[in-house]
Subunit: 356 residues, 4 copies
């Protein structure tokens, strides 16, 4: 029998439960052996959904970590535990896939990076799911092969469907604001298409609370627009939104000197079109899961493969910290109303680094 | 541990190999225990791809059938073996999922049906993959809920990408012509949307060999258009083609008294659009697998679930025979150039059953 | 001053009034000098809309024909007058643009053709508006330049929006059934793309009354599907419908040996898309005028130019009669339920001309 | 005979010649009586294209202005003459339609406004063609009727097709940079959808020269991105580009609290789609004329109607000056690298007016 990677999942919330099921059922080369969550509801779910398949359930992370044979840990609990658990898992010699963000705090995120560097034989990755999306990969391959010349302008948006409750408000408290939580995906994509070594030149942002006034107390907004200028004539601009009527609409366009690529400009939920008296109507996906489920499954499988076959991960942990840093800049620019400037080494300066 | 259905796959050609992998890796409640194929190449593939996972390999169908514990057999070898193997499997007390068609011969197909009726506790199904496609299901739900009123006209096409070889010619020899092989899917969909009890009133068809002259020797064509009129004011019309330049483009539209639904009118391969000097370009899937892979996976899982939980299958075996019968009518109409007529019981008559 | 063509319009119904306005306001090289209509309502409209611009109004066609200086007549009244008025105008030495159909009767249509042949210096044309549509022309140019190889299969539909009144029933009485009235446009397009000299090999058709039972009294249907097979391996199939919920959806696809062209597969009314809670919605045009208004304006201008500059018309009158003939075949096939067969000279035969 | 508005056109360059033809041929209630241009080439064109229709040709603006009977003047020559000619025409008692911009200089633009105010009975308008585009109007009506709730975020882009010459560089010298020349249309639209009385709160912009290095000498760029924040929680962001590969792609989206409208997200040139081996391809328009020709014709007709029937113009001259002012802010923000701030009365301030 081919050997399977022994995996444990920490945190069985919305995403954690999905990770657990993915490793249990949709990652042929992995074996889910243990999970943990302090919440009795999560444990009850695990008892019915996972235990019959032989998965051991813990309420304590460290006890789970000590479960014999575990090789890799998926860290998917509350954000404040992402970094500490990742660090403990790494130090215990486990490979780690940590949900994004490592932390909403830059220094803490950097801390994970520092620890990971000490264990170069371990695979440590954050879950930037769009990197595993087939459409983004196809677009990247085209861009990389020169189809659109040199990428110059990058536009990307993360737009959530409006929810008629206060979920986004409560979420804002822990998620670190719209640019850090949502746009961080778009920023990561910008770095992917522009090059991970792109150096920020200036950052500006504006925002407003159109439907969720409760976000103000956390310095957050439900609509934010930001521009990140990079040295070398590269411009990224972002839109993040929590109130789309139609559904989840995350999209990207990459404008190069000789062509343009778009990803999800025209969202597709299924292949049905409805011709009715008011027009032709297409439904679109309602959640990020509708959009990115196959990417999460690919993530599980590629992480597993990278560990088992000692292959390189598709992107580096440093990139995740860099994306978070730029997200924090946008957040600062939003909150202060100021435009931020940087020199060619990326150091903060007080005045525009260059004028036309 | 939850019990898993023990499955065997007969035939490891293009589709059989995919079935085997699906049962091995993508059907959590099933366990692939054995496969068989007389072809040494197929066996070599199985040795590297399946044996390491503990799958037992046979070159003989009956030996495989005798493998201890097998509960269900996937019959996926050459078309002429579909019926005999299905019958032996049923008579051996196995549940059967048989690739379409049961046979290109109506009587032989009916024979499988007759045997299956004697074993009502066994699940016997043919692989009409489109029945498991999420878009068709969504469209059907909308139609069933009355969104488009009463379905009146049904248009459906199966269009394969052109291949620069003689595959389709060789394939025609065994597949029973374009209407029986390709349009049978569209016919099955028409019966699904119009009702399985729809009675054929007339059938006409034309066709031509535009790119594969070699098809003529088998009475086959590479482009065929047919109309199937049903009693009760329902019209289905079909197009089948073996020479699409762009890729696989299977699409359907259902026109009701109060609206219309289309499935795959605008094919989607991924979410990338390419803006280049010659226009905006989208690539589409090249093969039926590109289009229907998720449907095949759903098929494996639902078949498994139906057996394990003794649930009804999503459609009946009789429908498969009926679809094949209509496909044969189209083929006859094509070959003779005559329009076929039927009375309200579906019996063949020599003259139009009614005039306006 | 550049000389302008002196034009008269006969018949000020829906289309006639539009023609009059087009010649008055949107055909710079033409001058509308006279109109006629026996209906007092039409005359009242003309008094307010046309008379102030100096247009002379008549209630009698022949009096209008005698109006000094008239060079061209647009025949746009009731269908039964199309042929007689056209003939009188031709015999009076006028150029004629006659709305389609010349007549619902083939012999009468042929009569116009016969008269026109005697006056070869006169421009006589029927109003096949789609021939003037920019999209059809662009598609034709691409096809003509070999972009799709040899055209093999032609699919075209004329689908009117459902009307909640008995308009289509009353209209059926005089328009000569759905294939002659609506599909005739699609047939004309098929002849354009396949070649005007294409010879019919077989014709079959079915139809049903789904929403307008009153059509039955005229041997007409509100949904009709027909196949016209041409000698030389060319197949056209047609759909005509009077009950589309969404609007007017006339579309065409031309499948060649090396590619496919579609015209209006995705109808566009304006460039607005509405993202709302139920999906992404586009409105489409509601009438043939919404779809073809620019084509009618181009028709006026090109007809005028052809006369003034003695240029050839874009298509021949014989084609209109041929399209009507094929429409009549479809109608016969619909009404008798029989498939019609023809030999390689286009002569009617009783049995299929060839078998596979 | 209904009376026609006597119109003169000054400037017969690319747009001026089109205006002249529109008034000559496509504006039924107007009569083109005179044109002027100092360029012999333009005069030669007018002699062949306009003189035969009775249009008087001048080389001098003031001589043309003195032509008897002229009621309205279309000012369409070089930008530096827009304001002086408009003022002289107004002072001579003529209605004026002046191409945008009134001037690239704000004070000069304001000067036209000041003069126009003294002649309230005259219609004075600038040519913001998108205001006459049917799609923008339909979108505006939907927004105005509350279909998307309150507009919150406005995104709009003006993207020209790349030209393999130095046209854009020479043009930049006189047009006043990309934000003033191109984005001014998007800004005007933002004011239309957000309300003309919207007060700017902050402005930031970045840009780069990706393909036309020669633009740098004029402080201009070929790709510019800017954000204009308005008081009251309204955000507009803009993209302008001179190097699109595919064609002219001007598009807009308006995100409201309860829905979103897009205009030209999916550009349409004609209704043809090409299915070929590399995918499904649609061509798009190559120039602003391809996109907006019908809007220019509607502009001519509505301007004429407004004068003849003394109806209000569809938008006010003050708006044009306001749009230009915001364009100048973007240009300043681009050139200095600074973010600009404004208080609630629109007065410039040195620090962000508010922090979250």
């Amino acid at each position: 029998m081919a050997r399977k990677l022994k995996v444990a999942v920490s945190g069985l919330g919305r995403m954690g439960a999905r990770h657990a099921v993915n490793y249990l059922e949709k990652t042929p080369r992995a074996e889910l052996v243990a999970v943990c969550d302090p919440d009795p509801k999560a444990i009850a779910w695990a008892k019915s959904a996972l235990e019959p398949a032989g998965v051991k359930i813990y309420s304590d992370f460290d006890e789970m970590l000590a479960h014999p044979g575990i090789e890799a840990v998926i860290v998917s609990g509350i954000t404040t535990e992402h970094a500490p658990q990742s660090i403990r898992a790494i130090e215990a010699g486990k490979h780690v896939l940590c949900e994004k963000p490592l932390s909403t705090d830059l220094e803490i995120s950097q801390g994970v990076l520092d620890v990971a560097k000490k264990y170069p034989h371990l695979k440590v990755m954050t879950g930037f799911s769009r990197r595993f999306d087939q459409s983004y990969r196809n677009a990247w391959k085209k861009a990389d092969s020169g189809d659109i010349g040199r990428p110059v302008v990058f536009r990307s948006q993360t737009c959530d469907k409006y929810r008629d409750d206060d979920y986004f408000i409560g979420y804002s408290k822990v998620s670190g604001s719209i640019f850090v939580d949502a746009s961080v995906h778009d920023i990561d994509l910008a770095l992917w298409f522009f090059g991970q070594d792109s150096v920020v030149k200036s950052v500006s942002a504006v925002g407003t609370c159109a439907r969720y006034q409760g976000l103000k107390q956390y310095g957050d907004v439900d609509n934010g627009v930001g521009i990140v200028e990079f040295w070398g004539g590269k411009i990224a601009y972002f839109y993040a939104c929590r109130m789309m009527a139609v559904g989840q609409h995350d999209m990207t366009e990459v404008i190069g000197t000789h062509g343009k690529l778009t990803v999800n400009a025209n969202p597709v939920h299924d292949l049905v079109e409805h011709h009715e008296a008011t027009g032709i109507r297409k439904e679109i996906g309602q959640t990020y899961w509708d959009r990115f489920e196959p990417a999460f499954i690919r993530e599980s499988n590629e992480f597993t493969e990278a560990v088992l076959d000692d292959k390189p991960l598709p992107f580096k942990l440093t990139g995740a910290v860099q994306a978070l840093r730029i997200g924090s800049y946008l957040q600062e620019a939003l909150r202060t109303g100021e435009k931020l400037h940087f020199d060619e080494t990326g150091e903060r300066v007080t005045r525009p680094a260059a004028r036309l």
